[in-house]
Symmetry: C2
Subunit: 192 residues, 2 copies
DNA sequence: GTCTATACAATGATAGAC
DNA sequence: GTCTATCATTGTATAGAC
């Protein structure tokens, strides 16, 4: 289907994961990643704005999925229903293989402040997108913001539990449990 | 009190703000900032890990203040009392001049993805610190996390309101109002 | 203990050829 | 879409001056 090997971005991700596992993130140059994928540094930076984005290339699609999930919720849905619809869509976008890749990436993030900063930026991008959609549906910016924070927290905490201690459960269930735990703790905030 | 001009970091911040206002963040080099402050690039990087940190140098102190605020709350304080104590301390650490500097920095952040990423990282650092302290006092990680998100949101939204439309009010009051608004909206999340 | 001089590796941008 | 080549800038490292 063309003069070059297909799936350039995927090949770059794969090459990066191997090299980072061997040498660490900092000790690996963009040129090395490109070379292992059979490309040059210039080409890598044509596909990704920076070295970090090679690892986070999956996130934008997740955001779109979450938004679509909220938007496809039925008309009479409650605030919490909308949030759950978004999270469910998000979770179902994960294929089982991503559990292992996710673990790998999480380890790299934990070891690199540079990656941690980008990871938090991505997390906040999901929250912001969720907030916007929820605000449209609910007509209440504050409620939307609070809900988005809650949902994103449930998603990240859930993902972490899922890949650490609940590997055989479905991600959607773990996240739903986490969200339910927040619900049951909220009355303590309001003052009972 | 020494052989050199005092307040090196403050001078660098001042120089950076002037140059960024003139030329924008991207078009200003670290060397230019240093030169305007009467220093060299080497010295700038001795004081700050990177160019962005010149702008965010105030944040670490704010984190310490917020934590101290929570820790100094009386023994019988409720979860919400603890959060309010932290936020109050945070707000009172702001001197009036910081309203204008804060506005300036916010404009720069809005115009630069690079700065936005760092700003979000700083926000999350405040949330994480708050969460840790609250968890210690409350003995409940989940509650602490949810509370920290809520508090940090109130602080940032409050700051934004304060510098945009409520300049003459006290920051602490604006933030307290914002937090109260979240409290009143929370029952809608629990499901009434 | 803070600053400077110099040299250096890596990022990321850019222009032009295939 | 990729490559070669070149480039400015970031940020580091070293060794020394006051």
């Amino acid at each position: 289907m063309g003069r070059w090997e297909p799936d350039t971005r995927g090949r770059l991700l794969h090459a990066a994961l191997e090299l980072f596992a061997d040498q660490g993130y900092d000790a690996t140059t963009a040129a090395q990643i490109a070379e292992r994928a059979g490309l040059t540094k210039t080409t890598l930076f044509r596909h990704f704005a920076d070295k970090r984005e090679v690892l986070f290339q999956g996130q934008p699609a997740l955001v779109a999925v979450a938004i679509a999930g909220v938007e496809s919720a039925p008309e009479g849905a409650t605030a919490l229903d909308l949030l759950r619809a978004g999270l469910l869509a998000l979770c179902e976008a994960h294929v089982p293989e991503q559990q292992e890749i996710g673990r790998q990436i999480d380890r790299l993030i934990a070891a690199s402040p540079e990656l941690k900063e980008r990871a938090i930026f991505k997390r906040s991008a999901i929250a912001a997108a969720l907030e916007t959609t929820l605000a449209t549906r609910l007509g209440d910016r504050r409620l939307a913001g609070v809900l988005a924070d809650l949902g994103v927290r449930a998603y990240y905490e859930g993902f972490s539990l899922w890949s650490d201690t609940r590997r055989d459960d479905k991600l959607a269930d773990v996240v739903a449990d986490e969200l339910a735990a927040y619900e049951s703790v909220l009355p303590q905030v309001t003052g009972r």
